[in-house]
């Protein structure tokens, strides 16, 4: 039988706050185990959690950027379960009154735009980390680090609106782009700052009754999301084809084998007995607060793409690449502010700059060629001081040294030769050296023009003004 897959995603977004959600402990990654803990995040009796205001602000940002309504009065609830990484025996989360509800993200797959519903976004605390060290009594014990306990998270729950692994990946990428643009998450999937669970079920094509779903966990890269969902589609289709029933369960994705496997024994834990947390008072968000957050929102990727095309006249492809990450877009915007010629800037950013950064495995924020230097160089090209070809040499030198382009040009003697007398002299020498080819050209082999240009540029070490070279050469060859 042919099946339609139905996918809903739950994404945990770790927030870029300095401190934890309910205490003043630092959220820094990679510190000594249990060094960033206090009575609140250790779950000691009598400790009182107090909400970090920044978390609420970040949640409102996320809600506004994903077209959610902000709940005027929302509350925290306790989600009760036992696990060694959860010291209180409950996780403080939100249940019936999450901070944001009813949003939407538009994704693009195969040139089609499709809205994906967002059911809710709620705030919660992360659990600690269980560590299994090979060196330590392997197999006997687990080790608990509570530095991560109480780190603020947003859980973004989508509607089951996605109908292929590609749609799920597109949604995830879009959400990732938005939270990183908003500056509320570093987006680092390897370190677990952006984690995804996928609910996957199948139904016969043409049906509108959802089948039983499996919840896939541990899919911490875009590639794994695609792999895990595709594996799961096949697994469930095989079961259904053989007349079996899909079991509702949690399954763990194993990146090594590309398969998902059942996490047995966690089923009973699903009785969470939520109730309002008496330690935390309700959060009231008024229109004024929402407006203040809305005003401070950065330009989001969709708006940026549209502006790059409509106002700056860039091709769709350029707009897509430049708006893909906030850092690149910020760099590009800074350049255009200094040198308002979008296309040359775009060519250099997408070309030499991103290539150099990629080879170097460096972030654009650490690029030695600042927007100031890049645009200075573009001005030198525009006013004829250097040719576009020489600009590449200047760029490489700027990238290596961070030096001013005018200085590089001066030090290396790279000024473009626009003196027609000097160029004429070079051309005469080249033509005199190869009278046969000159004769061939004049006999109709016009392709040789490029050969001469190449020789001339070589003789001038790339410094001859190409426009002048063309002009003079053409005149000379015509005789």
């Amino acid at each position: 039988m042919k099946y339609q897959v139905v996918i809903g995603l739950e994404v945990h977004v770790q927030l870029l706050t300095n401190t934890k959600i309910f205490c003043g402990c630092s959220t820094r990654f990679g510190s000594e185990p249990n060094s960033q803990t206090c009575p609140v995040c250790l779950g000691l009796p009598g400790a009182l959690p107090v909400l970090n205001k920044k978390v609420v602000e970040f949640a409102i940002r996320a809600g506004l950027a994903t077209n959610c309504s902000i709940t005027p009065r929302s509350t925290f609830a306790r989600k009760n379960y036992f696990y060694p990484d959860l010291p209180k025996g409950y996780q403080i989360s939100q249940f019936d009154l999450p901070i944001c509800v009813g949003g939407r993200l538009d994704i693009e797959v195969d040139g089609e735009t499709k809205p994906i519903g967002i059911t809710r976004i709620h705030m919660e605390e992360d659990a600690g980390k269980l560590v299994h060290l090979d060196t330590m009594e392997a197999g006997e014990k687990s080790y608990v680090d509570l530095n991560r306990a109480c780190t603020p998270l947003l859980e973004v729950v989508s509607e089951p609106d996605m109908r292929s692994a590609d749609e799920a990946v597109a949604y995830l990428k879009k959400l990732h782009q938005i939270v990183t643009y908003l500056g509320i998450c570093d987006g680092n999937m390897e370190e677990g700052s952006f984690r995804c669970d996928a609910n996957v079920s199948l139904m016969p094509v043409g049906s509108d009754t959802f089948g039983t779903r499996a919840e896939l966990k541990n899919i911490n890269s875009f590639r794994f999301v695609k792999q895990a969902i595709e594996y799961e589609i096949e697994r469930q289709a095989d079961i259904l084809d053989e007349g079996g029933k899909v079991v509702q369960e949690t399954r763990l994705f194993d990146p090594a084998s590309g398969a998902t496997r059942s996490m047995r024994g966690k089923e009973e834990a699903h009785d969470y007995r939520y109730f309002p947390d008496p330690d935390l008072v309700p959060i009231v968000v008024d229109a004024e607060w929402i407006e203040a957050v809305r005003k401070a929102l950065p330009e989001l990727p969709d708006a940026k793409r549209t502006r790059y095309q409509d106002e700056l006249g860039l091709p769709e492809y350029d707009a897509e690449v430049l708006a893909a990450s906030r850092d690149i877009a910020d760099y590009f915007d800074a350049c255009v502010a200094l040198y308002p010629q979008a296309k040359p800037v775009s060519n250099w950013v997408m070309g030499e700059l991103l290539r150099a950064l990629k080879e170097d495995n460096r972030e654009i924020a650490d690029c030695p060629v600042t927007p100031g230097l890049l645009t200075e160089m573009l001005k030198l090209v525009e006013n004829g001081t250097i040719s576009g070809k020489i600009a590449k040499t200047v760029f490489d030198e700027m990238y290596k040294t961070g030096k001013d382009p005018a200085k590089i040009v001066e030090e290396k003697g790279l000024v473009q030769v626009s003196d027609s007398g000097a160029i004429e002299k070079i051309i005469d020498e080249i033509l005199a050296a190869d009278p046969d080819k000159v004769a061939d050209y004049r006999g109709g082999k016009e392709k040789l023009f490029g050969f001469f240009v190449g020789q001339i540029m070589k003789a001038s070490k790339g410094k001859a003004n190409p426009a002048l070279v063309n002009e003079i050469l053409l005149a000379k060859l015509k005789g």
Partner: protein, 95 residues
């Protein structure tokens, strides 16, 4: 009878409590009595009254996002039943 023995067993399991047969019997009756008592509230007409989640009429108790000193690894682990290096040590958890 509102509370059954099965529910007592279920709740005990969720709370990781091991109960004897006598205790199960005892608690089934006691919990049932408590529920019946609280059930009195259902006699009141509460139409149009917003559910209360907190007894204190207070909202928006926030702190600023400023790092405060943590208590230190030794203090954090002082009450741990078992430790290894700077970790809490617990029975093996299988995922």
């Amino acid at each position: 009878m509102k509370i059954t023995r099965k529910e007592v067993e279920h709740v005990a399991r969720l709370a990781r409590l091991e109960l004897t047969e006598e205790e199960k019997e005892l608690f089934t009756g006691q919990l049932d009595g408590i529920l019946a008592y609280v059930d009195k509230l259902n006699e009141l007409n509460t139409d149009g009254i917003v559910p209360t989640s907190h007894a204190v009429p207070m909202e928006n108790a926030f702190r600023d996002d400023l790092v405060l000193p943590s208590i230190g690894i030794e203090n954090a682990l002082a009450n741990a039943p078992d430790r290894s290096e700077n970790f809490f040590r617990v029975p093996k958890v299988i995922e």
